[in-house]
């Protein structure tokens, strides 16, 4: 446990010492602000962030979070610090979970900046706090999944560019392609693709619902990719 926190703190610190973190935050704030200003903040519109959360935020996160995760392991592999790291008394699980927690903490700070929008909206209308909570839980789960996918691909290569491309590609596919693709199919393949579509699972959180089915989907996927990342890191020893 101590090692996980140590690792997480180092990762979080490393973000703020590199320009990437600031670029990521800038892109995130600019795009989300743009969508809010044009889409949601209109006279007569509903006092919610539905326009932002329904589609745009998913797209923004799928593009921005890979930038955050690409260096997590790739940088250690490239610079060779993996050697000092893995010869310290720390396990592969602690390294992977620690890096995940560090990236999540940074992501949490990013999400906190979005709170400015409900505050602005509440000056002009009534914002439903339960709905907002659901939205945030959904965003944390969605981001958690994106971060673990990115973390996994980062353990696969020492080239950050390869890591970011693989991550963004896979995320875009999982999020946007599974649902339309499932329409082309019949029977059980269709059900499977529908069940794997990230956007479908995220949708209920936007509407203010927390369904156990969707919760289980995100938790399972996060667990799966963390497991894959640990295994990939353990494999390195045998190469």
């Amino acid at each position: 446990m101590g090692n996980i926190l140590t690792m997480a703190r180092r990762e979080l610190g490393a973000y703020f010492l590199s320009p990437i973190a600031y670029v990521v935050i800038a892109i995130f704030l600019f795009t989300s602000g743009l969508v809010f200003g044009i889409g949601a903040f209109q006279p007569g519109a509903e006092a919610s962030l539905r326009t932002l959360f329904d589609f745009w935020i998913i797209l923004i996160l799928a593009l921005v979070l890979p930038m955050l995760t690409m260096r997590l392991m790739s940088e250690e592999l490239r610079s060779g610090t993996i050697e000092t790291l893995m010869t310290a008394p720390i396990t592969e699980i602690e390294v992977v979970v620690g890096k995940f927690v560090g990236a999540m903490a940074f992501y949490g700070a990013m999400l906190a900046t979005l709170l400015i929008y409900p505050i602005i909206l509440s000056m002009y209308g009534n914002v439903d706090p339960v709905m907002l909570l659901c939205n945030y839980i959904g965003l944390l789960l969605l981001g958690g999944l994106y971060i673990t996918v990115g973390l996994f691909f980062s353990t696969c290569t020492k080239h950050q560019v390869v890591a970011i491309l693989l991550t963004a590609g896979v995320l875009a596919f999982m999020t946007f392609a599974f649902d339309p693709l499932s329409q082309l199919l019949e029977g059980w393949p269709r059900v499977i693709l529908q069940q794997l579509s990230v956007r479908t699972h995220f949708h209920d959180f936007v509407r203010g619902l927390i369904d156990l089915n969707h919760l289980a989907f995100f938790v399972t996927m996060v667990g799966l990719f963390l497991f894959l990342a640990v295994k990939r890191l353990e494999m390195r020893r045998w190469q």
Binding site: R10, T81, E83, T84, M86, P89, I90, R237
Partner: protein, 315 residues
């Protein structure tokens, strides 16, 4: 303190380490000497639990590096080749991070960081970002990290590579000092360095240990293999018979050209036949124009080994 038993390591079809065994007792500096690509780094990676051996077993401070990896790692300090560090961190930040991974509490860490900063002459450089430091300074930060938890065993992979002559001298004297408290295993491809810093040397080439012992022992071992080369003017047959009859001579090769006879004499162990050769020549009235020892130094031997490895494993 370090035990390596029949360890081999394969990278795909390449056999990087070929069934090596050695033991190192507590204290002192042991040098791992070999040309580039001999398997030094690979052996060190196995000892520091970074990569498991393909076969064989190894233990550090009594803990098996594979089965009790975390315990072994707690007792080992490791400076990998090229000193990988996090450039964005400051030296002391980095050492705090490493200390935490080693389970050290804050007061303990502060004390340890002060100790290693002093010993590695880091001074104020410790509070600068690592990425801004010179190669030599970074090397010291890496060394400070390896020493931070006062480990039983220090494994240093090419600790002086890329340093300027002054820094090399300082680092060597630091390593010698460290050998008084810790068991130090250092690797190098520079014979001179190992001769200066190490109490014991293990020579490795093409994945095999080919010799080991103190510098004096090795010196003796190789002077036993040395041949005496002499060039004498006289009848070749008579000379060959006469030399062979000398008490210290094991074997002799004779080659004659334009009146001069070249003798390559292999002496019996611990015999110096040069004086006998001289006496033989003068008693017969033959002229002597050259007499010398060939391959007597560790250096000659090392050069020979390096050349042989390069011939059989062209890089």
């Amino acid at each position: 303190m370090i035990r390596v038993e029949n360890v081999s390591k394969k990278y795909g079809p390449l056999l990087a380490v070929d069934n090596i065994s050695f033991h190192v007792e507590r204290g002192g500096v042991v040098g791992f000497l070999g040309p580039n690509g001999a398997g030094k780094s690979t052996t060190m990676k196995i000892l520091t639990c970074f990569q498991p051996a393909t076969s064989g077993s190894a233990s550090v401070a009594g803990f098996d590096v594979f089965k009790q990896s975390l315990e072994a790692r707690r007792r080992t300090g490791y400076l990998p080749e090229n000193t990988p560090l996090y450039p964005e961190m400051r030296g002391d930040e980095f050492l705090h991070f490493r200390g935490k991974l080693r389970g050290m509490q804050r007061p303990q860490r502060l004390e340890a960081i002060k100790r290693v900063t002093d010993r590695c002459w880091l001074g104020d450089f410790i509070s600068r970002p690592i990425g801004h430091l010179s190669k030599g300074m970074r090397q010291r930060v890496g060394l400070a990290d390896a020493m931070l938890h006062d480990p039983d065993v220090l494994v240093l992979d090419e600790p002086t590579i890329g340093l300027d002559p002054n820094q090399i001298r300082e680092t060597r004297s630091l390593i010698k000092e460290l050998g008084e408290r810790h068991t130090v295993l250092l690797s190098s491809h520079i014979l001179h360095e190992v001769e200066q810093t190490c109490d014991r040397t293990i020579i490795i080439a093409a994945g095999k240990i080919i010799a080991s012992g103190s510098t004096d022992e090795l010196q003796k071992q190789f002077s036993a293999h040395a041949r005496v080369i002499a060039e004498i003017k006289g009848p070749a047959d008579e000379m060959a018979a006469g030399v062979k009859a000398l008490p210290g001579v094991q074997d002799v090769e004779v080659t004659a050209s334009d009146g001069w006879v070249r003798l390559a004499v292999s002496p019996k162990p611990d015999h110096d036949v040069r004086e006998d050769l001289f006496k033989l020549a003068t008693s017969k009235g033959w002229s002597l124009r050259e007499i010398r020892l060939e391959g007597a130094t560790l250096e000659d031997f090392f050069v020979k080994v390096t050349a042989e490895q390069q011939r059989s494993h062209p890089l």
